[in-house]
Symmetry: C2
Subunit: 696 residues, 2 copies
């Protein structure tokens, strides 16, 4: 027993010293940081960092970097916008974009920014709504209604506010996150894709790295640059090896607290199936993008997303099949269950929780494909379908009371829904026909040619034939979408548009399986997870951070290399490295601007380009600022190394690394390669203001 | 204990009654068949069946069905040949092929047939060669030499004989299989792909089914149809539900006896990785085949193979992640190890065997990708590369003594090697460039852009660029291959052909990793597996069948339906079902010939078309005859149902089914749809002769 205790204490000590955690701003472990790095962020510091951070609602992070609403994020976070603003004749993805004057900044059709202004604990309110209820319909109805009500009251009909109920610790805690919302967001600067994503898929998730994965966008209010009191100033020197670094941003999701039943479902079913899908789609898309320059231009952002997801999920899969992690997690669950079962009060309240979650997994498995292909729309792989469905479903849902609607159609969700629904982003008929044929083929393959739903959708048509018909929809026309939405349910139902017809045909089946999922599966999982979280709180207090949920988190760490295959990987690369690595062939082809700058000796090739740090991040953190204890920008997160992919399940400080553009590289390139003087001045003008803003 | 014993007895009783097993002809359980079906094949019956069966060396099964060398197999087994004989202007895959006269039969460039004439147990000889040796170089050298020597002595320089050392029970037994070899094989009949593979990939591995997956080819000797004394006659009536059925053929491989360490490697590493690869390749190939009619014609057999493998391996993966099977296997291994460890004599000899196998798996894993991509050629995805490599490696190996060569270049292997190397099958430059670019991209992705081998191969070139250069090789020209092979090592080394240059560049690395694999990994695995097999023999005798090894096996069963999703699936379909299922759209589009025959009421649509039986088969059994106790053909195996895919790891008689074309369908279609009177006469003329042949 003594040896065990000693080991435990040691393990705890080690754990306490690791730079682990994606901490909420209202529960940041300043003491831990103090112990390890000699600096403890205080409340004012934390608030300033929070207000200087920003979320891209579509799935990224960013930061305010000037008092005039200038936002720094990744190129790949604005990639869709850059592509949407491009045309056959002007390809900003390939050529880059720079607005030398304020009036040259162009509106991105689909970017929404969220600045987190307030966090409120509403656990009692949400958990109270389902108190004493068994998993099932009433549980789901009451919970949904409670969340919708809180969100609606908070936003109070003001579209400039966004209020989200955030489920933390898998239901152990509920918080209300109130954001300031910006929907007028304009593109300011983006380099060429060739340097933003130098090394392409082969180098993605790798380090050493040589990418300038940056873009600048700007938040507007009432047609003018937004006044942003809180923002990060740029560090004059940037970071060097060993420096303490903070990263704020929105990690999209982690699965560190899942039960073994959930992990087993991920390892054996969900991840492999998604990977098979992604791999095949990747193969098809790659060929599609090569068929013509126009195919390349219109489909390439989708391909990037698919390749990125494939690599990320493959890393997760590989982490789960590694016996060490698996056994460690199994052991941890066993220990927790033993502790719960050892106390009769705990056992009574929480003992059955793991079996509830396991039952949810087991019950879901046989119908998982129907849920994915029919309700989640995997079989109808096109924004046109999603538009048609929002028209069909949305106009029906809007006739219900707010609390009774499907979550995505509640009043609080409408501004984001409408931005997407009425987006002017171009949709390309040929690409849509391709994607639809692909999705319909996969639908038939996954549910089987004899599945009643498949027969209902395809009839005697081939997937290609139906896809061609569907691609004739008139929903490319934003005005038509607006008219139908305004006209409401009856007008939508009367439409003879082929895509709306399809959405109408699909909806009853989709709703049926959604209802089953939400009431029978989801409530069971939540019910179990809430209990497990509560058991942990009772036994361990709130000493831990919750799994990531695409909400604002803060992580701490340091610029630090690591060992790989017996070699030490140094944490900082330089411009010189990029020139050495270049082959002149895509994806290792540097853009003309870089080659010219090098020839003309405009660029200092000793300037740091990328760096890696021990911050604990994951997908969704793309675009996050890396800043020092003075809240000065020292980098821009754009990736994690390959070892970080297992970070979905646990953090291993020895090898898990955040990969960022060094702040010096940003200034060097803007100034000496792109001549983007206006941005450089804006970034450099900031210090004084920022310091005073931070003091508030 | 009593309850456990009772359960075991019950399980054994059930196992004994299941139609499980791919039995070697020298250890067929006639008594079991007698007990269940009231018929016991005797030695003469077995020998006649053996000699009437035939192997397609490329990976299929078949049977002699006339005294003039006529062989029945699947369309998909001759698919490559049919494509190779086609041209831009005449597509036999789409249109079908029929030689109305003997002189219209056309030679297949790459089909080799093997008729098994003798089985000899040589266990003592092979195991004796490594007796007392530790796994490693000497073990590998001695074993390889022993096998090469036995094979060479057996064939005695006669190319019409083929002798293979067959490793059974994973090294527990070695047999020498002596075959009569036919390399002049000609195409006689093939229907249109649209009916051979009706339902395409969506219906593949499904039942009920409606395919006429047949082709007839003919073995020739000295330019004339071979005289084949032993052959199967056609049943006048075919089989009906409940009838006893036999299947002889070459199941390609099963993994029923693998250790848990091997299974875990398959489940967690090997199968997922191959599936990711296949899925992506499938996506790319599908797009490639759609780019033009010529792309479709030249790439479609490859796509079929990829889709088929993907579905088969996915079924295997799904079987391995099912907890019931996994736990059962783990339990079985535990029990066996306990039994071994319980007796000190056994423990001493065999106790460490499982750890040896586990170590082989663990050691292999970190270098698995190098082995696959460098040595197994996954990075050089083209027959042109394989030709270049055979020239580079083969001419070097031939200078060594027979016993010292790599196994695939021993004297006994040369006839098959040369058939492939000097094949006149067309190779299409555009398709090769596509495949090479694909393979090289995957090579870079899997080993990493910074791997020294990748840098050595690609230099600063992109995969596409190098692929284009390589596709300029002159190795399309068969004469040039022959000349280089004749001229030998120095001439090959002096060649400036780009593909030969590549093969030369790759060979040192490939040989190094091959040597490591063969000496360090393979010998460890064999050493362990031999001991496990020996332990089983000591404890259980030879009461079981060995895992499949693409050698002749016999299975027994019956025509029988099964239950699926609560419905009973009837075991026989009819022509009417095919007409009902047709949508007029590929892959559910019936060929013109069928539509015409139906319109003209030439075809009796009540005729049975496909059937399913409880025979235990697996991939490689394609083309196997299904025959009754009188050794009359009642069907032609072409598939298994989806539940049969788990058969790689174990047989579940409740749902595992062989899928076959009913014999009545073959006659009906040949006679009334294709007017292939010459074949019908040949098949029907046979009864008397066959009966007398069988009596020998």
């Amino acid at each position: 027993m003594k040896r065990f205790a000693l080991l435990s204490a040691l393990a705890l000590a080690l754990a306490a010293r690791a730079d682990e955690g994606m901490w909420t701003f209202d529960n940041f472990p300043s003491k831990k940081v103090q112990q390890k790095y000699g600096f403890a962020p205080d409340a004012a510091w934390l608030q300033a960092a929070q207000l200087s951070s920003v979320r891209l609602a579509g799935g990224c992070s960013g930061s305010f970097v000037s008092p005039d609403g200038l936002v720094m994020t990744n190129h790949h976070c604005a990639h869709s916008c850059i592509e949407q603003l491009s045309t056959k004749d002007k390809d900003f993805v390939a050529e880059g974009f720079y607005a030398p004057l304020a009036e040259n900044e162009v509106k991105c059709p689909e970017i929404e920014l969220n600045q987190l202004v307030q966090i409120t604990d509403i656990t009692a309110q949400i958990q109270g709504a389902t108190k004493g209820l068994k998993p099932g319909k009433e549980f789901n109805d009451k919970r949904k209604a409670a969340m919708a009500s809180v969100e609606k009251d908070c936003a109070a009909g003001n579209d400039k506010l966004r209020c989200d109920v955030v489920e933390l610790y898998h239901g152990g805690q509920y918080s209300l996150y109130r954001y300031k919302r910006f929907q007028d967001v304009r593109l300011v600067f983006a380099p060429e894709l060739a340097i933003a994503f130098f090394g392409g898929d082969p180098d993605n998730f790798n380090f050493p790295r040589y990418d300038l994965d940056v873009s600048f966008i700007r938040a507007y209010e009432d047609g003018k640059p937004a006044r942003t009191e809180h923002y990060f100033k740029f560090s004059p020197d940037g970071a060097k090896e060993g420096d303490l670094t903070f990263v704020s941003g929105q990690p999209g999701g982690t699965d560190r607290e899942l039960t073994m039943a959930e992990l087993q479902y991920q390892r054996d079913v969900a991840l492999p199936e998604r990977l098979f899908d992604l791999a095949q789609y990747r193969g098809a898309l790659t060929m599609y993008t090569r068929q013509s320059a126009e195919h390349h231009r219109t489909a390439e952002p989708t391909l990037f997303g698919v390749e990125n997801s494939f690599k990320a999920l493959k890393g997760r899969f590989e982490a789960l099949v590694a016996p060490a992690l698996w056994n460690q997690k199994a052991q941890r669950e066993r220990t927790l269950r033993e502790k719960v079962n050892a106390r009769s009060s705990l056992k009574k309240k929480y003992g059955g929780a793991w079996d509830e979650v396991a039952k949810a997994m087991a019950d879901f498995q046989p119908r998982r494909k129907e849920y994915r292909f029919i309700e989640q729309g995997t079989g109808f792989n096109s924004p046109l379908y999603r538009i048609a469905r929002d028209l069909v479903r949305g106009t029906e849902e809007l006739r219900k009371a707010n609390g009774e609607r499907l979550r995505e159609y509640t009043d609080a969700k409408l501004p984001q829904l409408k931005q997407k629904l009425f987006s002017k982003a171009p949709i390309y008929e040929e690409f849509e026909a391709f994607k639809l044929a692909y999705g319909l083929t996969r639908l038939r393959e996954n549910l089987g040619a004899d599945h009643p739903f498949v027969k209902k959708v395809l009839g005697k048509k081939s997937p290609e034939e139906l896809a061609q018909e569907l691609a004739q929809t008139k929903l490319y026309d934003v005005k038509m979408r607006e008219q139908l939405w305004q006209a409401g349910r009856e007008a939508v139902l009367a439409s003879s548009d082929p895509m709306i017809q399809l959405a109408k045909l699909v909806d009853p089946d989709a709703r049926a399986i959604r209802k089953w999922h939400d009431e029978e599966i989801e409530t069971l999982e939540i019910s179990g997870a809430e209990k497990i979280a509560a058991a942990k709180f009772e036994l361990e207090g709130k000493s831990n951070y919750p799994d990531a949920t695409f909400t604002l988190r803060l992580s701490y760490g340091a610029v630090k290399g690591y060992d790989e295959n017996g070699r030490h990987v140094s944490p900082i690369t330089t411009f010189a490295g990029a020139f050495e690595r270049a082959t002149g062939r895509d994806p290792f082809k540097l853009p003309e601007s870089w080659l010219r700058a090098s020839e003309n000796h405009q660029v200092n090739t000793a300037t740091p380009l990328n760096m890696c740090t021990t911050n604990d991040i994951i997908g969704g953190n793309s675009g996050s600022p890396v800043f020092d204890k003075d809240r000065q920008i020292v980098g821009l997160v754009f990736d994690g190394n390959i070892q970080s992919l297992g970070g979905d399940y646990g953090f291993d400080e020895t090898v898990n690394r955040t990969v960022a553009v060094h702040s010096a590289a940003l200034i060097e390139a803007l100034d000496h390669i792109y001549g983007a003087k206006r941005i450089v001045s804006e970034l450099k003008a900031a210090p004084g203001t920022a310091a005073s803003a931070g003091a508030k």
